[in-house]
Subunit: 360 residues, 2 copies
C-alpha cells in the first residue's frame, strides 16, 4: 500500500463552507488521529470476523489478496471458497483517498465539494451452501472530506427458507447493540434498512433487513431526508413523522456506535449457522436458493451505493464484485406455488415486519 494519506485540510471556515441548512457543526472536528484509529479498527474487525467465520465453517479458510489503488490507498480482500458451510464468503478491508468524492456523494454532502476525501471500511457478504442458512451482508465505513466526516453502514439478513426464531434473534441482537448507544437508533436504522434494501422493480425487500445508516455525524439528525438512494418514497415520508432529532453526538460517540454494530455481527449470525447447517435439502431448495440469489445480484448492481461508489472511484473491481454469488439462476416469470415454503418467504419475509416484537 502507498504511504498513508495526509488528513484532508479544512480549507474554508465553517461559516462559508457549510450551507445555512447544514446540521454539521464543523467546530466539532474528529481527533487528529481519526483516520488511523478508524482504519486500524476496520482492519482488526476484519481479522475478528474472518476468525469467527473460519470457526463457524470448521473447514474453509480465507485467502488474502492485498491490493493498491493507483490514485491512492488500497486494501486487503479475503475470500473463502468451498468451505463446509460457506460456498463463498468475502471480507474486504479498504482505505482510499483522492482529490474529490464522486458526484453521487457530493450531491448529499455539498460541503465536501472541492475537498480531498478519505474513506475506509470493512464489508462482507457470505453465500452459504445450505439453503436453510441465510445469506448475510455487512458493511461499515467512515468518510472525511474537508469540513465533513461521517460513519455509515449496516447489516442485513437474506434467508431463503427462514425460521422465525432466527430472524427474531438476529434483530434482537442488533437492537441490543443499538440500545447501548441511543434508544432511537434501532427503530430508525431498522426502518432505513427496510427502505434501503428494497427492490422497487420487484416490490420486495431483499430479505428480512437488519439495520442501515449513513451520514452519521455530530449532528442530531439521524435520517437526512434528502437521502438520494431512497427507493421507497412512502417509507421515506414516514420518517418525517417518526424520527425526531437526537441529542448531539461527538465523533467518539458515533465511532463507538459503529464499533458496537460491527461487534454484534458474529453473535447475531453464527448461532443461526450452527442451528441450520445440518438441515437436509434437495434440488428443490437448491434451485430456489440459486433463483433468489438473482435478487442479490439485481440489488447490488442496480441499487447498492457501496458498489456504485467503488465502481465510480475506480476501485478494485474484483473486490467490489466479490459480493456476487458463485452460482445464480434466473427464471422468466417464476411464481412460487401457493401454500409452499417458497410462497411463505414472499408473503411474510419479503415485506418489512416488526421482528423484535414478532408474535407470528
Amino acid at each position: 500500500m502507498t504511504a498513508f494519506s495526509p488528513r484532508p485540510v479544512v480549507s474554508k471556515p465553517a461559516s462559508k463552507s457549510a450551507s445555512p441548512e447544514s446540521n454539521v457543526t464543523v467546530g466539532n472536528l474528529p481527533p487528529a488521529d481519526s483516520q488511523k484509529r478508524v482504519s486500524e479498527w476496520m482492519k482488526s474487525f476484519q481479522d475478528r470476523v474472518c476468525q469467527g467465520l473460519e470457526e463457524a465453517d470448521g473447514v474453509g479458510k480465507f485467502q488474502q489478496d492485498a491490493w493498491e489503488r493507483p490514485e491512492g490507498g488500497g486494501g486487503r480482500s479475503r475470500v473463502m471458497r468451498d468451505g463446509n458451510v460457506f460456498e463463498q464468503g468475502g471480507v474486504n478491508f479498504s482505505e482510499v483517498w483522492g482529490d474529490q468524492l464522486p458526484p453521487s456523494i457530493l450531491a448529499q454532502r455539498p460541503e465536501a465539494a472541492g475537498h480531498s476525501f478519505y474513506a475506509t471500511g470493512t464489508s462482507m457478504v457470505l453465500h452459504p451452501k445450505n439453503p436453510h442458512i441465510p445469506t448475510v451482508h455487512l458493511n461499515y465505513r467512515y468518510f472525511e472530506a474537508g469540513p465533513v466526516w461521517w460513519f455509515g453502514g449496516g447489516i442485513d439478513l437474506t434467508p431463503f427458507y427462514p425460521v422465525e426464531e432466527d430472524v427474531v434473534h438476529f434483530h434482537k441482537t442488533l437492537k441490543e447493540a443499538c440500545d447501548r448507544h441511543n434508544p432511537e437508533y434501532y427503530n430508525t436504522f431498522k426502518l432505513w434498512c427496510d427502505e434501503y434494501f428494497y427492490l422497487k422493480h420487484r416490490d420486495e425487500t431483499r430479505g428480512v433487513g437488519g439495520i442501515f445508516f449513513d451520514y452519521q455525524d455530530n449532528s442530531g439528525t439521524l435520517y437526512p431526508l434528502s437521502y438520494p438512494g431512497s427507493q421507497a418514497d412512502t417509507v421515506a415520508a414516514d420518517y418525517a413523522e417518526k424520527v425526531g432529532p437526537v441529542a448531539d453526538r461527538s465523533w467518539e460517540d458515533v465511532f463507538s456506535f459503529s464499533q458496537s454494530c460491527g461487534l454484534a455481527f458474529l453473535p447475531s449470525y453464527t448461532p443461526i449457522v450452527q442451528k441450520r447447517k445440518n438441515t437436509k435439502y434437495g434440488d428443490r431448495e437448491r434451485n430456489f436458493q440459486l433463483y433468489r440469489r438473482g435478487r442479490y445480484v439485481e440489488f447490488n448492481l442496480v441499487y447498492d451505493r457501496g458498489t456504485i461508489f467503488g465502481l465510480q472511484t475506480n476501485g478494485r473491481t474484483e473486490s467490489i464484485l466479490m459480493s456476487l454469488p458463485p452460482l445464480v439462476r434466473w427464471e422468466y416469470n417464476y411464481q412460487p406455488e401457493p401454500g409452499s415454503p417458497e410462497a411463505r418467504l414472499y408473503e411474510i419475509f419479503l415485506k418489512p415486519q416488526d421482528w423484535v416484537n414478532w408474535k407470528g
Copy 2:
C-alpha cells in the same frame, strides 16, 4: 392492451420549442400514421424473428405472455426455454406511452420536456446452450415526444469461443444492410457499438460488437456527442474527428434503415448457429460460458439504457429482465490461463477490432 394512444400533440411551434442548437427540423414531421406503422412493423418483425429462431432450433417453441402497462400500453413477451440450441431465448415487443419521458432521456432530448411520449420496439436476447455458439442481443425502438421523434437500436454478438470467420460474417452482413442506406452508417454505428457495449469496470467490450445507434432523426447528425450513456471518453472524442454530418434524411429514410437492420439479423446469426451447434464441449467450456455470462448481467444491470428505461418507466420487470441468463457463475479473481482459448477471447475479441477488414 388498452386503447391505442392518441398521437402526442406538437403543442409549440418549432421556433419556440427547439433550442437554437437543436438539429431537429420539426417541420419534417412523421406521417400521420407513424406510430401504427412502426408498431406493426415491430410486431411483424417479432413474428419473423421467432419463426426463424424456431427453425434454427428445430425443437424449442416460443411461449407468449401478453401484458398491459397500467400507465398506458403493453406488449407481448415470448420466451423459448430448453430448446435444442437455445437454453433460453426471449423476444419482446412493447409499445408504451405516458405523460413524460424519464429524466435520463429528457437530458438528451430537452425539447421533449412537458410532452407526452410514445415508444415502441422489439428486443431479443438469446442464450445458447453450446458455448461454441455466441450469445446475441438485438433491440430496435422508436420514440415520439412532442416536437421530436427518433429511431434507435442495434445488434451485438457475444462469443465465448469465437471463430474469426463467424465474427467477420456477422459484421459483413450488418455492413451490407447499412451500406444500402448510407456509406457512413456502418463505420459510425460500429464504433458507437464498441463504445456502448463497453464494461468500464472490466476494461472489456461485451463481445465483438456489431452496430448501435440512438437519436436518429431527420437531422444530418449521426452521433450526438453529448450522448449521456457514453462509457469510453476516448472513443467519444474520436467521433468528433471521424464522423461528419450526412445529408438530411426523411422519417421514411430512417424507418427504412431501421427495418433493414432488423432484417439483417437472421442472415447474420443463424448460419453461425448451423456451423457451431454440433461442436463438442465439456465442463471446462460450459464453466467458462457461465462465468462470461456474468459480464452480460453486469452490463445489463449497470449500463444498459434499455433496462434502465424499462425500470424507470415502470415497465414489466419480467420482460425487461428476461435478457438475464438462465444460469450464471461468478468467480473471484478469475484469470484465463496464458495461451489458452479463454485467454485468446480476452486478447483479441474483447477489444474493438476492424472485423470487416480482418486479416487475423
